[in-house]
Amino acid sequence: MKFPHINRRTHLYLGLFLTPWVLMYGVSSIPFAHNDYFEERDKALGVPLWTKTFDGPFDLGPVTESGSLKQLGEPVVRQFKLEDSSYGVYRQGPNQINIYVHTFWKSTQFKYFIDEKRLTAEDRRFRWEHFLTGMHARGGFEDGRFFHTLWAVLIDAVCLAFLAWIASGIYMWWSLPGLRKWGWVAVLAGIGSFSIFLYRL
């Protein structure tokens, strides 16, 4: 097998394997790029986005300025049986901690009021654009659990595949002398416009 053959086959099979991710990143970029349109459309429905499912006493113990916020969220996600989901903990103000629990299908927001030792839980209504943007934004190796890490590894694979498609695409274009002239026009127009954006944007 010669290099051009290996190059074409790698380009093809890598592309086929990663097709769902490429399509997902493409389609999910639409609600990111046109966020105002989707928000207006949803607002027109007149249906609340969040539904309160819990409001009651809850004691997280002493909350210090320097302590790990992530650890503070643990008893809450455990209590609500959401420990399989990924979550983030944020200090909303001196007296409030917010915990966001997210899966591709469901999002729950907890608000812990430190002074009152009170917790509220709200579920977010399912929206397809949230499903897509949630997938798009998911990444990182911080969680450490198997499927979360596998998703992050696949994101790396998609990144490396894009670089490989660019390199192998350029190689295949160069192997077709009949397309060189128009190829140059396309490549230079792309590099030129991107450079202008870099300089002026």
Partner: protein, 176 residues
């Protein structure tokens, strides 16, 4: 750009260090006393526009909260060197700070820049280029499938690769 920036964001700890991430660092570029007059009762947004025009920095920007007439902070977007401009009404002082360049920050900014919300032609052109990229991405995937189907010799292995990809994607979509 999107491939490299996604890699950077997927390895946040490697490029930014352990959480919490420090805020971006700025260095003072210039300080001056505003030479003109702000209109009576100008909103922070109007002050920001006048400031940017005077400083020859007109372009995509956002006024930082809280909005007060006494102190207006404008974050001027820029691919390479974003700036923070602080105007204090009492003494008419203007401080222009430039963000210290970081490769990871640059890629993240480029990745996240999108939308038609700014009143500047160049930003609209960038938003159009993002839309073109989206359409191209979807077309590349679909045309790739069509081209594979046209090559009889690769059908079996190709189906295996596509099936494995779809299967793994569905599994992860179900469990994550």
């Amino acid at each position: 750009m999107y491939a490299v920036s996604t890699f950077v964001m997927n390895h946040r700890r490697l490029f930014h260090g352990p959480p919490p991430e420090p805020p971006p660092q700025y260095e003072v570029e210039r300080e001056l006393v505003y030479p003109g007059e702000m209109p009576e009762g100008a909103t922070p947004q109007q002050v920001a526009l006048q400031l940017l025009a005077t400083l020859d920095l007109d372009g995509a920007h956002a006024v930082a909260r809280p909005f007060t007439a006494e102190r207006v902070v404008v974050n001027r977007q820029d691919a390479i060197s974003p700036r923070r401009i602080t105007y204090t009404a009492a003494d008419k002082k203007v401080r222009v700070e430039k963000m210290i360049f970081s490769g990871a920050g640059f890629f993240e900014r480029m990745h996240r820049r999108r939308g038609y919300q700014h009143n500047y032609v160049l930003d609209d052109l960038w938003a159009i280029s993002v839309d073109v990229t989206i359409v191209a991405l979807i077309l590349l995937a679909l045309s790739g499938i069509w081209m594979w189907w046209e090559l009889r010799v690769t059908r079996r292995l190709g189906a295996l690769a596509l099936g494995a990809g779809i299967g793994l994607f569905c599994l992860l979509a179900a469990v994550l």
